[in-house]
């Protein structure tokens, strides 16, 4: 493993989460239909926002809780909270 770029999945595999059964972030994908730029897709460092067919799909499980999507979403489609009860990402070396 050196020069080759790794896939995000493999990179994220090195992290630890205690995933909250209740999503701490929810997205109103109806609003996303009117979003031309969709900055969340490129800027979410954990790749939580993807396109499937023509709809935006969001999965919260790999979220690293940076807050970027909350700030860049132009249409207020995102309801964003921190995970409850110590759940979510657990950083050890960051």
């Amino acid at each position: 493993m050196s020069a080759a770029e790794q896939r995000l999945e493999d990179i994220l595999n090195n992290d630890i989460w205690d995933v909250d059964p209740n999503p701490h972030i929810t997205v109103d994908s109806e609003k996303c239909k009117n979003c031309n730029t969709k900055p969340c897709i490129r800027l979410c460092p954990a790749g939580c926002y993807t396109m499937s067919e023509k709809t935006l799909v969001f999965s919260y499980e790999g979220c690293v809780e940076c807050g970027t999507c909350r700030v860049v979403c132009p249409l207020e489609a995102i309801h964003w909270e921190f995970p409850k009860s110590g759940r979510g990402i657990y950083f050890r070396f960051s």
Binding site: A4, L12, I41, R42, G86, F93
Partner: protein
Amino acid sequence: MAEIPNKFDVIVIGAGPAGSASAYYLATKGFKVLMLERGRSPGSKNVFGGRVYVAPLREIFSDFEKTAPIHRWVTRERMSFMYGNELVSLDYEGNDHKSFTTYLSQLVAWMALKAETAGVSIVNDITVTGLLKEGNKVIGIKSGNESVKADVVIDAEGVNRLVLESAGTVPPLKPSNVALGVKEVVKVNPEVLANEFGLGDGEGMAWSLMGDVTSGLPGGGFIYTNKDSVSIGLVMLLDNAISGANDEVYRYVERLKAHPKLNKYFKDSRIMEYSAHLIPEDVWSLRPPKLAYDGLLIAGDAAGFLLNLGYTYRGVDFAAYSGYLAGKAIEQAHELGGMSAINLAAYPKLLDQSFIMKNLKRFNGTNKLMHNRRLFTAYPAMMVSLMKRIYSLDYESQKIFNTVLASAKENGVGPFTLISDGIEVIRYL
């Protein structure tokens, strides 16, 4: 929170550098302090680049160096300007122990333990969801349906200040307020640290990178050497990234590691952790209307105390020191008879007299400078082409002055732009 007594002298929201330093100071002065952290343990939600300036921490924790998790003292500083497969570097080799590398997760765990040992009650797994108020006065905090009271609350929740937003104290974050940092910590062979980075035992390197590492977006890359690992990452101003990032952000870090001139530092490396976090950028617009309210003080990133000079970040020492000053202000207000905004006004005064506000005022134009895209596109390219013209010769040598103008022209920078940008850099940095 059932088992917690329901009244404290002080409640601290967030066990980061700001919260832990304030809690520690107040506990040593005999205050009954409760510190609430949303993570499973202090440090588990904290992310930074890699280097901390030691002087402010030494003032707060007198025996800092004895037990703190210091990985390496930064004895080597490097700044590189990148363009394509080439780079130009400035390298400084010193001997001083002014800053060190570490993992913030470890440093915060250490600071919180100091606070706990001094008598602070720390409760993890608690996300504070709001401030408890009586009229305009803050009298405690809420977490879901539960609440705890205190004479005064220190808000040290960091840059994603959901508590202050929900209380209406600050407006929601805007993309122009913040930058996104994305980072990998990678395990490297000890020989790489010795041979490629050229570091002796305990010696560390802080390396900043500018140029097309961010595809010319304002921001830059960073590399820090830890004990047996390397932190590598990128920072991008979010407003520029929205329109300009043409790829998924994680790929920029991977590409940096794979760069033909950098990959030797990462051969046989293994990713230990991947993380991302926002960074206060436009610190003056992030600043809350006031820093001291009736029953409330705001410290650290939540107050926008961070200095970004392009080649270095100072957030951890600023946060810790602002927490420490919040502690001192509470001590003074206690002597004056209560936690009213008037009695707590010592806090902004102490900040004004400290290195925090002096630095932020001295460098108040850097944010404007960071938005000058030429610094991240044309100039790194120009530095590379300049060096190439000077050093990469077949027969004829070039005069340096002519070479500067020629490489400026080659990169679309006219002589007047060159001069005015030069003046800007000198003025703001």
